[in-house]
């Protein structure tokens, strides 16, 4: 039997999809309105899944008292109410598609000491979601 724990968080941020490797016309064709010059925003929902043994003393895989402040410090403070392209260093040189945001958040959370990070899932809107499990 394998047990995992998933916690959902929210952050609101703006971004613009624009690749310096493509010309203006290609950027416009590939990214469409996501390429509009001043950016746009989303209410992102972030699901963080951790796994590991359930500690018999606490009944928990990870204490939310540890997980919540870790995610807050590593991700929410850096992403919430920010322009991802400028305010998050990694996206100054990487297009902030939600695929790349998943990978970056996974990288930031991988060192969570109390349990193993299993998966990061992001809902960019109620219609789009993206997952990354480190593989």
């Amino acid at each position: 039997m394998k047990i995992s724990l998933t916690r959902r968080y929210k952050f609101a941020a703006s971004h613009r999809l624009h690749s310096p490797d493509l010309n203006e016309e290609e950027n416009q064709r590939i990214y469409g309105k996501c390429n509009n010059p001043f950016g746009h925003g989303h209410n992102y929902t972030l699901e963080v899944t951790v796994t590991g043994p359930v500690d018999a003393a606490t009944g928990m895989i990870a204490n939310l008292g540890d997980l919540d402040p870790f995610v807050e410090r590593e991700v929410i403070e850096a992403f919430d109410y920010k322009y991802l392209n400028e305010d998050v260093t990694e996206f100054q040189s990487l297009v902030p598609t939600t695929e790349n945001v998943c990978r970056e958040i996974y990288r930031r959370l991988e060192s969570f000491p109390a349990a193993r990070l299993e998966r990061v899932r992001i809902e960019e809107t109620s219609k789009n979601s993206f997952e990354y499990d480190g593989r």
């Binding site: 039997m1 047990i3 724990l5 359930v54 500690d55 003393a57 606490t58 009944g59 928990m60 939310l64």
Partner: protein, 141 residues
């Protein structure tokens, strides 16, 4: 292979306290979840069964049958109950959603006659849930 999922809800009370811990330790580790008189949640349970549809019925498992199993095994046991006091399967365990998911898995697994129990997901609230699956990694202590 097809996966089918049925959802039910139950409402229950619980608190988190380890009798081996001091009052201060319980407060530090479990925070407001340690309040002695407990508090409650509307739990949401999603149970997923995996298998091949029976050629005669087109069904992996009749959802009516699954609905009845969930009613008898889970809702009748846990709905409008205090999980610390009234559910024998949770006796001696802290009733976290991890432990509740594991107990529900153990209750349901032998009752599923067609298909296989694939996942038990217990939502304590919209922003917190535990999954129990058959995998070998992350086994309970």
């Amino acid at each position: 292979m097809i996966r089918i999922t049925r959802k039910v809800e139950f409402s229950a009370a619980h608190f988190y306290q380890n009798p081996q811990f001091s009052a201060e330790e319980n407060k530090r580790v479990f925070g407001k979840c340690s309040n002695t008189h407990g508090h409650g949640h509307n739990y949401s349970l999603e149970v997923t069964i995996a298998g091949e549809p029976d050629p005669a019925t087109g069904m992996v498992l009749d959802l009516k049958e699954l609905k009845d199993i969930l009613q008898w095994e889970v809702v009748d046991r846990m709905d409008h109950r205090h999980l610390n006091y009234e559910v024998p399967e949770l006796a001696g365990k802290i009733p976290t959603c991890e432990n509740i998911a594991a107990v529900i898995w153990t209750l349901l697994e032998p009752k599923i006659r067609k298909g296989k129990l694939d996942r038990v997901r217990v939502y304590e609230s919209d922003d917190l849930f535990a999954d129990c699956t058959a995998g070998g990694d992350g086994v309970r202590k």
